[in-house]
């Protein structure tokens, strides 16, 4: 019963959706202010989800009917599970299992995989180009991020969320060291790519592919995807706080956590608004070159203890 409440209400689905949708609003509002626009009211993201739920779901003739509907729900369930594991790890540090940090990272990859499934069965040429880009992108940003997770885990001597936060509580945040700073910056880029935001919104690429991979999605199917993106935005930023920035503690710590979260959001938003979209070959070079190199450098620095 407790697990069901964890999963559905707090820190799972309801809580994460609300925070996630408010974060998307924050993103849209701040982007609008940067661009001299007014921006939407705070309930806009909720209204969007509501509107999408109202709309008809159109399933392409060539697509597998049940698969087309189930895949985005699968992605939604996966990110909710990831957020729940992260949240429970905060509430009860001993509740984790060995390797949960890796599991969480790959649970966040499931929306992308369900998207690839939908895009490839829809039979739309623009979607199929989007799919090939999404797969390439998935392969590119995974490498530096996994190196970083392994680096953090070996530094703290444990593959659980509990051990990472516990180590940082005693020894101070990883971001206080050079390797932590480098790792944090690389992780910001990886998260941006995982969320499919500019400069890595190649799979959607509105002005090239006309929403590409999302093109055939509509109504509730699209709502599930949008919601899973919102939860992932919250979840991944939270993941970053746990990994490099000491996690969340009670009392005044919650206020600190909110500030850290907002700061990460601001980084993500500035990155989105000060860059054009990269080409897929450039994005791959960027992740496999600079970012992987940086992650290895961070690993070496961590080993040296700088």
């Amino acid at each position: 019963m407790k697990l069901v409440i964890y999963y559905l209400i707090y820190p799972g689905f309801v809580f994460a959706s609300i925070i996630g949708l408010l974060s998307t609003w924050f993103d849209r509002k701040l982007s609008a202010r940067i661009q001299w626009r007014q921006g939407p009211p705070w309930y806009q993201s909720f209204a969007d989800i509501g509107k999408l739920l109202y709309k008809e779901v159109i399933i392409p003739k060539e697509a597998n009917r049940s698969g087309f509907i189930v895949a985005p729900l699968f992605g939604l369930a996966a990110v909710t599970l990831a957020v729940t594991i992260l949240g429970v790890g905060m509430i009860n540090p001993t509740a984790g299992f060995i390797g949960d940090i890796i599991v969480v990272w790959y649970l966040f990859a499931i929306p992308a995989i369900s998207l690839i499934y939908i895009g490839s069965t829809s039979g739309n040429p623009l979607s199929s180009v989007g799919v090939s880009r999404e797969i390439k992108l998935l392969l590119s940003y995974d490498l530096p991020m996994v190196i970083l997770i392994v680096m953090v885990a070996s530094k703290v001597g444990g593959f659980t969320i509990g051990s990472i936060t516990e180590w940082q509580r005693i020894n101070g945040s990883l971001i206080g060291h050079w390797y932590g700073v480098i790792g944090f910056i690389i992780a910001i880029f990886c998260i941006q790519a995982k969320l499919g935001r500019v400069p890595f919104d190649l799979a959607e690429a509105e002005t090239e592919l006309g929403s590409g991979i999302l093109m055939e999605m509509s109504g509730a199917v699209l709502a599930a995807y949008v919601l899973s993106q919102a939860i992932a935005l919250f979840g991944l930023s939270y993941f970053l706080i746990i990994l490099f920035w000491g996690g969340v503690s009670g009392g005044i710590g919650i206020l600190w956590a909110i500030l850290k979260y907002l700061l990460i959001m601001v980084f993500l938003i500035l990155l989105k608004n000060t860059n054009p979209r990269l080409r897929i070959d450039q994005a791959m070079k960027f992740f496999w070159g600079w970012m992987t190199g940086g992650a290895i450098l961070a690993g070496i620095l961590a080993y040296l203890g700088v």
């Binding site: 661009q35 626009r37 500019v198 400069p199 190649l202 002005t207 608004n273 054009p276 897929i280 450039q282």
Partner: protein, 403 residues
């Protein structure tokens, strides 16, 4: 490798107007490209033949909302060429000011859209914010933010008063600082360099071969500019230069457009300062039989209007050639071999204006399309000329020596 067709249009977020590009791709690489035009044909040339000489400027103004001065400009030049009349100096300068305002607003519009196309929405919004200054100046000077209705054969329709000139000078000065900032921010951005440099290169030879026009050719180092070549009245006394770049890629096209904005600001300032009192209209009474041709450099390239008169109050024939018509075929060299991401950008880089370009394709009742070759067009043209001569009952003066 399997070839798939990726459609770009007729309805696509990249295109403001209906136009169909078929991209034959292998993976992400574009191997071949096909352009289908004709979705938006409005029969303006034919319509023009039923309007009086004074009504046509309003019609041609509506060929394109963005070059809404270039078309009337070229048309008025054509009529004045037919008449052999010279327009008053003040009218010339007013024309220069309006036309150059339009050039800045068009280039900033393109810049914003180009930013949007590469996913850089901040550039889009910022460029359009500064474009607003230009639109406000236009409103103050002409009464409209767009479609100024200032031109008429023989001069301009409205005069500027001192207050308006003062306002124009002040506001245009205001624009220099933010525009310099925006230009530097864009030209120094390393990610923009990565996306735009070396993409869609149009070499000097190809630019000449395909008769590319406007910024598209000037970015390849071809210094063609109808304002300079003609040389147009009004422009020849002012101090300005043609901006060219050597690289021919998308970045060079952006540089040309951005730097041209500064030339235009200088032209507007000179025009407003030099303005002396005098008439603004040559008062044309009637148009005798004959033909005239007007060339003007629109923001996208040279636009040509040709008119033929049979002595009535309407053009007997009005022919329009917009610059995009020449720039479209350059995709053959600049797009093939690039990726889809780049092709989207290259098609936008010529600043295409499809509704100006629309032509009729010949389709028979079975739906078979027929492509007219050069010989067919020459044959049709000769037939048409013969028909005109027959209808007029005499040989037009220009042809009388040859025939």
């Amino acid at each position: 490798m399997k070839r798939t067709i990726v459609p770009l249009g007729p309805y696509h977020p990249l295109l403001e107007e209906p136009e169909h590009f078929k991209l034959y791709v292998e993976g992400e690489k574009v191997m071949e490209l096909d352009v289908e035009i004709g979705y938006n044909h409005r029969g303006i040339e034919k319509l023009s033949e039923s309007k009086t000489w004074d009504q046509v400027p309003y019609l041609v103004e509506r060929i394109c909302g963005i070059c809404s001065t270039s078309h009337p400009f070229a048309y008025c030049l054509a009529v004045e060429d037919l008449l052999g009349c010279k327009i008053p100096e003040r009218a010339e300068l007013i024309r220069v000011v309006i036309a150059e305002l339009e050039r800045i607003h068009s280039h900033l519009l393109w810049l914003g859209l180009a930013g949007h196309f590469i996913g850089y929405n901040t550039v889009w919004m910022w460029a359009w914010k500064y474009r607003e200054t230009i639109l406000e100046i236009c409103e103050k000077l002409t009464g409209n933010r767009n479609h100024y209705a200032m031109f008429k054969p023989g001069g301009v329709r409205r005069d500027f008063n001192d207050e308006q000139i003062e306002y124009g000078l002040n506001r245009i000065e205001e624009l220099v600082k933010p525009l310099t900032m925006l230009t530097n921010a864009i030209l120094d951005d390393p990610v923009i360099h990565k996306r735009l440099k070396g993409v869609g290169v149009l070499s000097y030879e190809d630019a000449v071969l395909y008769s590319a026009l406007g910024p598209t050719s000037r970015a390849s180092g071809v210094p063609w500019d109808a304002r300079w070549d003609e040389p147009l009245a009004g422009f020849k006394d002012l101090n300005w230069k043609i901006i060219t770049q050597e690289d021919g890629d998308v970045f060079a096209k952006a540089v040309v457009r951005l730097l041209e904005c500064f030339e235009s600001i200088s032209l507007i300032k000179q025009g407003l300062e030099k303005m002396t009192d005098g008439p603004i209209d040559a008062r044309i009474k009637e148009v005798p039989p004959g033909e005239g041709c007007g060339r003007y450099e629109a923001p996208r390239g040279e636009v040509i209007h040709y008119v033929r008169s049979d002595g009535s109050n309407m053009p007997y024939r009005h022919k329009i050639r917009a610059p995009t018509f020449n720039n479209l075929p350059t995709f053959r060299v600049s797009c093939v071999g690039e990726t889809i991401a780049d092709v989207a950008l290259i098609t936008a880089s010529i600043d295409p204006c499809y509704c100006c370009t629309e032509r009729v394709g010949v389709v028979d009742e079975c739906g078979n399309e027929k492509i007219l070759r050069e010989d067919d067009l020459i044959r049709l043209s000769i037939e048409k000329t013969e028909q005109i001569i027959k209808d007029l009952g005499k040989i037009p003066t220009l042809y009388s020596k040859e025939i």
